[in-house]
């Protein structure tokens, strides 16, 4: 292969200049002539029956143009990515505090807010269902017609009982992971209006404009072509803007008033209303032989999906798929349940079920290595999956498996090789404090399915245009959430068209001007859109050989269909392609105060060939920060279905003081044969292993196994005191 000119390098992001100048217009910045401000009346209770809604006082507020309720939804009053079980506006029942009951549109935001307070809703308050185990009982009141179990799964490979009988060590633990908020810095926002051609247009913040278009059209009873959705740029998403947020509400106001409208959620409203990372309980029993071979993994996984389905089913499927990590286990038994409750509402979030499972299995791996007195990395390496092996759910791994390469690379890294030195170092502390300082190094390894998996339509269509002045335009409907994908697209287009990067432009996420490139999720865009770009470039070059470039230039379209596994175990289950990663973390614990500091993290990531090196590192560093948040800070708290922490004073995010200055990202470039230039994706695997690596480092530091996240200073203190007793 000839040397690559732009792929694998460190170009400036295409959007960098507009962003540092403050010129990029985000959804929350849009302003339209004569626009109305829209505010939502949300439920006053986590669970209640609506008896009546009286909007007369609200409608009388000066400046209010309309107050809309369920009867004003002209189409199907329901949405949801997979199952449409969520009302656009509730008419008979509310199931969580974020449920929308009415919309107010007014000339000013102040008027809209005043009117919201004057909408009178009478409720018959119902007992909230807050415990997933109780919700599963046959006599529990049903939140949905099909009962409270949204989805369940059972998979078996071999016979775990036989495996446990042969095991020299058996470790049993229960894990509990919290609900986590995406906390993208820009809350959900957008504007709506009728464009010149009469299409109801919504410019917003979603992660898949074509699906948003379908959901809006269905709720409004409009033909698809009468609805246009755009969402090229937004201030972060991480999966939290995959489901509908403001889009249908905006469209509804413009539909009824024929006027432009704008919505920006407050932070409190954002946290209360959008999907979250599923809180979960995970019971694990694992066994290994004396010689250090994994023999059995048994687990029971219960995820609390909250009030509505969204992607709760597929998230559980991935939790089950990744329940045994990147390891070869002869005997596996997994039971999974995704259960409706009145605890908010959960869905997609970076890692998508793998995040939860990885916390549990990587803790188990560490405990087993300890019990066997084996080096934790060597123990992982000895059990790692290879191509051709049968995965936990008993299907064959048919593509290259980079797990071992990342483990070996981690073993060669400075942090792990010289961990003794790092652990002894007290040079930052005074002599009197030093005895109370404990340090530990921990590792974790993981795999992450790429793409939507088998059974779900997963394709990317792109358009490539070559203009007479030699410029290339890529049109793709995925969104730039911050990850840098548009820059990677431009690099690939420049490479395969043989033009300089400056000659490439990317137009994104508009149902009118860009073809359907699928979701901006599942670590899939670089791989999927990249492949489509390569296909289109081939066609374009052939056209250029055949004919002259007219004034319009030449445009071609191509669609890439993601290859999938040849077995189907469930929706999105399993995957054919995976990314892999191994993380090493150094933590320091002050046993007097309980304070935990993450001092350094090394990330060894196999996302295939790296296309945009700066973007790759950026994803990794941001993933480390989120992994630290999940391990040590973040938890959405409830009191009987009522949110307790809905802004950044009480929902605590890692700051620059909490994330180490020392993050080392090492790409382990196992080139994927089906990937564009050998690329896969990295945006999830970069985060998932961080949390268990920290838990394992804590164990190494103070000899305590934490099984409940987040681990706070008070938890450390309590554990240290208990050990002294």
């Amino acid at each position: 292969m000839k040397a690559l000119k732009t792929v694998g390098r460190r170009p400036r992001r295409l959007d960098a200049e507009a962003k540092v100048l403050g010129e990029l217009v985000y959804p929350s910045d849009r302003c339209l002539e004569g626009m109305l401000w829209v505010e939502v009346v949300r439920s006053a209770h986590p669970h209640a029956r609506i008896e009546s809604v009286d909007t007369s006082a609200a409608a009388a507020v000066a400046g209010v143009v309309c107050v809309l309720t369920a009867k004003d939804v002209p189409g199907e009053n329901a949405f949801g990515i997979q199952i449409q079980d969520m009302p656009v506006l509730c008419h008979d029942r509310v199931r969580y505090m974020g449920d929308a009951v009415a919309l107010v549109a007014a000339e000013s935001r102040a008027a809209a807010r005043e009117a919201v307070a004057r909408v009178r809703v009478d409720y018959e308050v119902l007992e909230p269902i807050i415990d997933p185990e109780q919700a599963m009982q046959p006599d529990a009141p049903a939140l949905h017609p099909g009962g409270n179990i949204l989805h369940r799964g059972h998979f078996q490979k071999g016979d775990v009982e036989v495996g446990f009988k042969k095991s020299a060590v058996i470790i049993e633990r229960a894990y509990q992971v919290p609900m986590m908020d995406h906390a993208y810095l820009e809350t959900e926002a957008g504007v709506s209006y009728y464009d010149d051609s009469g299409s109801l247009t919504v410019e917003s913040c979603g992660q898949y404009v074509y699906r948003d278009q379908t959901q809006i059209a269905r709720a409004l009873g409009l033909p698809l072509e009468k609805v246009r959705v755009t969402a090229p740029y937004t201030g972060g998403a991480f999966g939290g803007k995959d489901e509908i947020t403001v889009q249908i509400h905006l469209a509804l106001v413009t539909y009824h008033t024929k006027r432009p409208a704008k919505m920006v959620l407050s932070r409190d409203e954002s946290i209360v209303s959008h999907t979250k990372r599923h809180p979960a309980r995970m019971w694990y029993k694992t066994g290994a032989s004396k010689s250090g071979k994994l023999l059995a993994v048994w687990c029971r996984l219960v995820s609390d999906t909250g009030a509505y389905a969204s992607l709760g089913g597929p998230v559980l499927n991935l939790m089950m798929e990744h329940c045994a990590g990147p390891y070869l286990v002869p005997n596996v038994s997994v039971d999974g349940f995704a259960v409706y409750t009145n605890n908010g509402f959960s869905g997609a979030f970076r890692g998508f079920g793998c995040t939860q499972a990885c916390v549990a299995i990587e803790s188990q791996m560490d405990l087993m290595a300890r019990a066997l007195r084996r080096d934790p990395l060597a123990f992982r390496r000895d059990n790692v999956l290879h191509k051709g092996d049968r995965a936990a759910l008993d299907y064959e791994m048919k593509t290259k498996v980079g797990a071992e390469a990342t483990i070996r690379a981690a073993g060669r890294g400075k942090l792990y090789r010289t961990r003794g030195k790092f652990k002894r170092d007290r040079s930052e502390h005074t002599r009197s404090m030093a005895p109370y300082i404990k340090r530990g190094v921990g590792v974790a390894s993981q795999m992450q399915g790429l793409g939507l998996g088998v059974g779900l339509p997963d394709y990317a269509e792109v358009e490539l245009n070559f203009s007479p002045d030699g410029a290339v335009t890529v049109r793709a409907s995925t969104s730039e959430l911050g990850q840098g994908a548009y820059t990677a697209y431009a690099q690939m287009a420049a490479e395969c068209m043989g033009v300089p990067l400056e000659k490439v432009r990317v137009v994104g996420a508009d149902t009118k001007t860009t073809p359907d490139s699928g979701t901006t999720t599942a670590s899939r865009t670089t791989y999927a859109v990249g492949n489509a770009i390569l296909m289109a470039a081939g066609k374009l070059r052939a056209e250029l050989d055949k004919r002259a470039v007219g004034l319009e230039g030449i445009s071609v379209r191509e669609t890439f269909h993601l290859p999938v596994a040849d077995v189907k175990l469930g929706d999105g289950l399993p995957h054919l392609l995976y990314s892999y990663g191994t993380h090493v973390a150094l933590v320091e614990v002050n046993t007097l105060t309980g304070e935990i500091a993450v001092l350094a993290v090394e990330a060894y990531l196999d996302g295939g060939r790296v296309i945009f090196r700066t973007g790759f590192e950026g994803q990794s560093e941001g993933g480390v920060a989120q992994g630290i948040g999940y391990a040590l800070f973040e938890e959405v708290l409830f009191d009987r279905g009522r949110f307790l922490n809905t802004n950044f004073d009480t929902y605590i995010l890692p700051t620059s003081m909490d994330v180490p200055a020392d993050i080392r990202t090492v790409p382990v470039e196992v080139k994927e044969d089906t990937g564009p230039y050998g690329a896969k994706g990295v945006s999830e695997t970069c985060m998932v292993g961080v949390t268990p690596a920290i838990l394992n480092a804590l164990h190494d530091a103070i000899g305590v196994r934490f099984t409940r996240l987040p681990v706070r200073a008070e938890d450390v203190l309590r554990a240290v005191l208990e050990r002294r007793r």
Partner: protein
């Protein structure tokens, strides 16, 4: 009752009629059309709305416009122009200190305040200096290095003078 407030924004004089409860961030975004300054929390916790007020970094979501009559306000829009980025902006671009970019304007203003305070800030001083500015995307590492490199370049320029 409306109150008349005069501000000097990025060097230009401006006059606003505001309610007593109007926040500076809304005056900037909605009346002055300067949407570079963002809102992430509205309660002084995220720093997305950071601007310089008479040279000091403040959260514009916590400042009432009526309180700061006569003040000098510096926002991201005053730092540089297309094709003429400031040294700090250039460093953010080169280092890859930007992802979604929503924290970037506030981060740049906080960084200017650090650079005004320390001639050669240490990594720790930089980390502390931006600890009021949340970034959910980058993990801060590249932001810290962009600020450190700018400080280095400015120090060389000063000594060359």
């Amino acid at each position: 009752m409306k109150i008349t407030v005069r501000l000097q924004i990025n060097g230009a004089e401006a006059r606003f009629e505001v309610d007593s409860t109007e926040r500076l961030v809304d005056t900037l975004r909605e009346k002055a059309g300067l949407t570079g300054t963002k809102v992430g929390c509205g309660i002084g916790e995220c720093g997305a709305c950071s601007v310089l007020l008479d040279g000091k970094v403040v959260s514009a979501c916590l400042v009432l416009t009526a309180q700061v009559d006569g003040a000098k306000v510096a926002t991201v829009e005053g730092l540089g122009k297309a094709g003429e980025l400031s040294d700090l902006q250039g460093a953010f671009v080169r280092e890859g200190a930007i992802q979604c970019g929503y924290c970037t304007p506030g981060m740049l203003m906080a960084a200017e305040a650090i650079l005004a305070r320390y001639r050669r800030p240490t990594t720790e001083q930089i980390r502390k200096g931006i600890s009021g500015n949340l970034c959910r995307c980058t993990g801060y590492a590249k932001i810290v290095s962009a600020i450190r490199k700018t400080a280095g370049r400015r120090a060389i320029q000063r000594s060359g003078r």
